[in-house]
Each structure stands twice: as structure tokens, then as C-alpha cells.
């Protein structure tokens, strides 16, 4: 495992997502109101690029015909077959214990700290005054 600088925090405002590639692996990074989450950009069903799907809320209902929507922007729907995944956990809604996409830890680090290492920043130029997103792969 190694930590990689993948983007400036400012590049990824709340509600946005960004596809990055680390060690040849595509990773979707999401900003949920200032919290960052990473998922392998690969649907466990047939390998579709999850990052290209719609970000939506969680639709629930306790009784037929009474719809509720919660957690806006926290569910990614696979662009191929519509399976829903929880951005926070990578778990599918349909079978959370069995069908999930791999989570990738994301953290924020100040440029000042990054300059000292041990981070790998081959693609992102680091400036001491900025904050950066780090993924561990």
C-alpha cells in the first residue's frame, strides 16, 4: 500500500466526483459535503465505470405509495444497469452484504506536509499553500 496525491481539494467541490488513476487503477473520488470517499470505478456486476453514473438520493418507503427521499447525492447508480451503491460504504442497495464495490481510503493533507513525503505525487504538482486529496492504494 502506498499513498498518492491525486488532486487539489479545490478541484472537487461538494457534490462533485472525480475519476483518478493510481497504479493503473481507476478510482472514483466523491465529495459529500466536505467528506471525501473513494470507490473503485468498477461495478461488481459487469465492470461498468461507476463514476459515470447518476448521483442520486436514497428512495425508501414504509408503505406502498408513500415515497421518501433521503441522503441526496450519496447514492451512485451504475450507468449500465442502474444498480445503486452507497458512496459512503461501497455497498449495493440490492444485496449489501454480497454485492459491493471496493472502497479506497481518501484523506486530506496540507501541501506543507506533502512536500516532506512519503507521498507520491507524480501527477499533481504540490504547492505548500494548498490542500490535497490522498488515496491509499
Amino acid at each position: 500500500m502506498s499513498k498518492h496525491v491525486v488532486a487539489r481539494v479545490a478541484e472537487l467541490p461538494p457534490g462533485e466526483r472525480k475519476l483518478v488513476t493510481v497504479k493503473g487503477r481507476p478510482i472514483a473520488v466523491f465529495n459529500l459535503d466536505g467528506e471525501f470517499f473513494g470507490l473503485m470505478n468498477r461495478c461488481p456486476h459487469q465492470g461498468a465505470p461507476l463514476c459515470a453514473g447518476d448521483l442520486t438520493g436514497l428512495m425508501t418507503a414504509d408503505t406502498p405509495g408513500e415515497y421518501q427521499m433521503s441522503r441526496p447525492g450519496e447514492i451512485i447508480r451504475c450507468p449500465w444497469h442502474g444498480w445503486e451503491f452507497d458512496v459512503r460504504t461501497g455497498q449495493s442497495w440490492c444485496e449489501p452484504s454480497r454485492i459491493k464495490t471496493k472502497q479506497v481510503p481518501v484523506e486530506i493533507a496540507a501541501g506543507e506536509a506533502l512536500v516532506k513525503g512519503p507521498y507520491i505525487a507524480e501527477k499533481v504538482a504540490v504547492a505548500v499553500e494548498e490542500d490535497y486529496l490522498i488515496v491509499e492504494v
Binding site: T56, M59, T60, A61, D62, T63, P64, G65, E66, Y67, Q68, H81, G82, W83, E84, S92, W93, C94, E95
Partner: protein, 367 residues
């Protein structure tokens, strides 16, 4: 031709003591029902000369409607109680037999006339059949065209524990998940009565989703589509969420279409489940919990000993299937009521355990 199944009662260990979940007493005609009608309807049927309410789905003279060796010397199939007892009950060694009367009350265009015929059938079957043999049980027949009257009929008869089920045709005027039908599901659930959906349609709407078939071949084979439609409707409209104790029994559905249907329903649900968010579990799981199927007919090749086992494995639950002869309908020859290849433990469940678990009122009567 009345002697059938030579030695079956003693020689057929498969059916002895079994619970037969689908048999069809025949209604001789409206005259039989007149004593069970009120003055208005008795007068109406006589004065207007109305009779012949046999269903288009099972015309009495059609080959399917009666196995040749079960066809009475005179009269309609299933109308002779003595023959019914000798062939269907003694012949198979049946412990309990559930009578599902198929007649025009369930489909009549007039809501109130349909309800009157249904009520008369229920009182007739109680007085002249159930009272005559302790092995007999019956489904409450109800007017599918008037759900509020159907619910009233369920309420009227639910106290008689010999009625163990409510009976509807599988194809009615609307899909059964629609809230229009919810009074039926509410009444059935309240009284612990499963609802049986039997092959057959009202025949005033096309019985296939693409229109009217030209031939019997198409009509009968396509019945499985109606079963699939109704199951999807019940699941997707949330009937099993609203009525969590409701049980549905598919009668004469053919069974073997089920695995592919379950698989496809799960596959599609995974992608579009947010449009029906009350469906919180895969449809196959919901159906395995709430739905049972009688095994007459069981559409598998009789010369392939592995086919049945494959289908049972794909269905994925050994508590879903219920024994039935479909007497007097012509589904099999001699005593070969089930296809080969059913494991003995599963067979015992199909014959006895599953029917007892499905029909709590049968369980009561042996407790």
C-alpha cells in the same frame, strides 16, 4: 369407465394420506343452486330462464375438463359426489381434499348476480359436500368483479373452518396488485385464509396481453403469463408489504416457468427498485415467502429424471409446492400424479407438510 387406478389406494404409497389441494366439484346447473338463493334471485333465474354458467375456461365437454375414465355416465364432470369420493378420495387415499368450484359466479358481468351465484355455491358446497365427507374442505368462491362484495362473502363464511381458502380466477379485469382489490386481500389476511388463483380468465378482456388467441393451444399454454403478471403486480404494488401475512396459492399454473421468472424479476428489480421502494427485498425472496403452487400440472418431461430435480433446485425452496390431482381435469394418466425425480424428503413435504403449513385451518383439524 368409473373404475380407475386399480389398487391405487393401497398400492400408491405416494398419495396415501396426502392432502390434495386442487379438485373441482361440478355445479350441475343453476337449478342446483336455487335453494341457496334469496327470493329475488330464485325468481330472476327461473323467470328469465338463465342457466349454463359454466366457464369458458373449462367447458364441461372439453377433453381437459374431465379425464375419460373420470367422466360420469351422465351429467357434467365432477358432479357426482359418490364418484368423486370413490375416484378422488378413496382412489388416491387422500386425507384432505380442497374443493375449488369453478363456475360463472366468479366472472358474471353483473356484480350482484355474480355475488348471488358465488354465495349459493358456497352454501351448496357446505351443505351437500362438506357435510357429506369429513375429508372435504373448500375454497370460498367470490365475485372477482366486485371486490367489496367478495370481502363481504369472506366475512360471511370465515367462521366456518371447513373453508380454508378464497378462490379467484388468475385473470380478472385488472391486475390484482391494484388497490381496487385490496378489500379482498385484507379480508383474507384477517381470517388467515390463503387466496388461490386458478388458471382461467373472465373472457371479456383478452386473456393474453397481446389480444385474443385463436386456439385452445394458445389459450391454455399462455396461462403462465397471467400467473407471472399477477405475481409481479402483487409484489410491485406492495400487496405483501401492506398485507404481510397474506398467502397466495397458484392453482394449475404449470410450476416450471417459475425459476426463470424469479431470476428475471430479481435481475430487473436490482436496476429499477427505486421506483417501487417499498419492495425492500428481491422479488424472489418475497415470492418464496408468500406464494405456493400446486403441482398439477407440473410441466417437466416425464422421461428426464433429472429435469424435475433441476427445477426444484432452481426454485430454491422446498416448502412452495403443494400436491394436487386437479380432479377431474385431465392432467395425467393412471396413478402417475407426479413426475419422476423428486427426492423422497421433498415428496413428503409436497404431499403433507407444505399443505398443512399453507392452510392453517387444515392444521387445526388434525391438532
Amino acid at each position: 369407465m368409473n373404475v380407475i387406478l386399480p389398487g391405487a389406494a393401497t398400492a400408491n404409497p405416494v398419495t396415501r394420506g396426502a392432502i390434495d389441494c386442487d379438485l373441482h366439484p361440478g355445479v350441475p346447473g343453476i337449478a342446483t343452486l336455487l335453494p341457496y338463493m334469496n327470493d329475488f334471485w330464485r325468481d330472476s333465474f327461473v323467470r328469465r330462464g338463465m342457466d349454463g354458467f359454466d366457464l369458458a375456461s373449462y367447458p364441461p365437454g372439453a377433453p381437459l375438463s374431465c379425464r375419460p375414465d373420470w367422466r360420469p355416465a351422465s351429467g357434467k364432470p365432477g358432479t357426482d359426489l359418490a364418484q368423486f369420493r370413490a375416484q378422488a378420495l378413496d382412489g388416491f387415499g387422500t386425507r384432505f381434499a380442497i374443493c375449488n368450484t369453478l363456475y360463472g359466479g366468479q366472472v358474471a358481468v353483473s356484480e350482484t348476480m355474480g355475488a348471488a351465484i358465488c354465495s349459493a355455491i358456497n352454501d351448496w358446497i357446505a351443505a351437500e359436500w362438506l357435510a357429506a365427507d369429513p375429508r372435504l374442505r373448500a375454497s370460498i368462491v367470490v365475485p372477482a368483479q366486485a371486490p367489496h362484495l367478495a370481502a363481504e362473502e369472506i366475512e360471511r363464511l370465515a367462521g366456518d373452518r371447513r373453508f380454508v381458502q378464497v378462490l379467484l380466477p388468475v385473470a380478472a379485469e385488472l391486475l390484482y396488485g391494484k388497490s381496487y382489490y385490496w378489500p379482498i386481500w385484507a379480508a383474507a389476511e384477517k381470517h388467515g385464509l390463503p387466496v388461490g388463483l386458478h388458471a382461467g380468465a373472465m373472457f371479456r378482456y383478452a386473456p393474453t396481453s397481446n389480444g385474443w388467441p385463436s386456439h385452445y393451444l394458445h389459450d391454455y399454454v399462455s396461462q403462465s403469463h397471467s400467473f407471472e403478471d399477477q405475481l409481479l403486480s402483487l409484489v410491485s404494488e406492495g400487496v405483501f408489504v401492506r398485507f404481510p401475512k397474506l398467502r397466495i396459492v397458484l392453482l394449475e399454473s404449470g410450476v416450471s416457468w417459475l425459476p426463470g421468472f424469479l431470476w428475471r424479476s430479481v435481475k430487473t428489480w436490482r436496476g429499477v427498485r427505486s421506483e417501487v421502494p417499498w419492495v425492500k427485498r428481491p422479488p424472489a425472496e418475497i415470492i418464496r415467502e408468500h406464494v405456493r403452487l400446486t403441482v398439477q400440472p407440473f410441466d417437466v418431461p416425464a422421461d428426464d429424471a433429472t429435469a424435475t430435480g433441476d427445477i426444484l433446485r432452481q426454485i430454491g425452496a422446498d416448502d412452495m409446492l403443494l400436491f394436487a390431482t386437479d380432479y377431474p381435469h385431465w392432467q395425467f394418466e393412471g396413478g402417475n400424479v407426479l413426475p419422476p425425480g423428486i427426492p423422497p424428503e421433498t415428496l413428503r413435504r409436497i404431499m403433507v407438510d407444505n399443505p398443512l403449513a399453507t392452510y392453517p385451518r387444515l392444521q387445526e383439524s388434525i391438532a
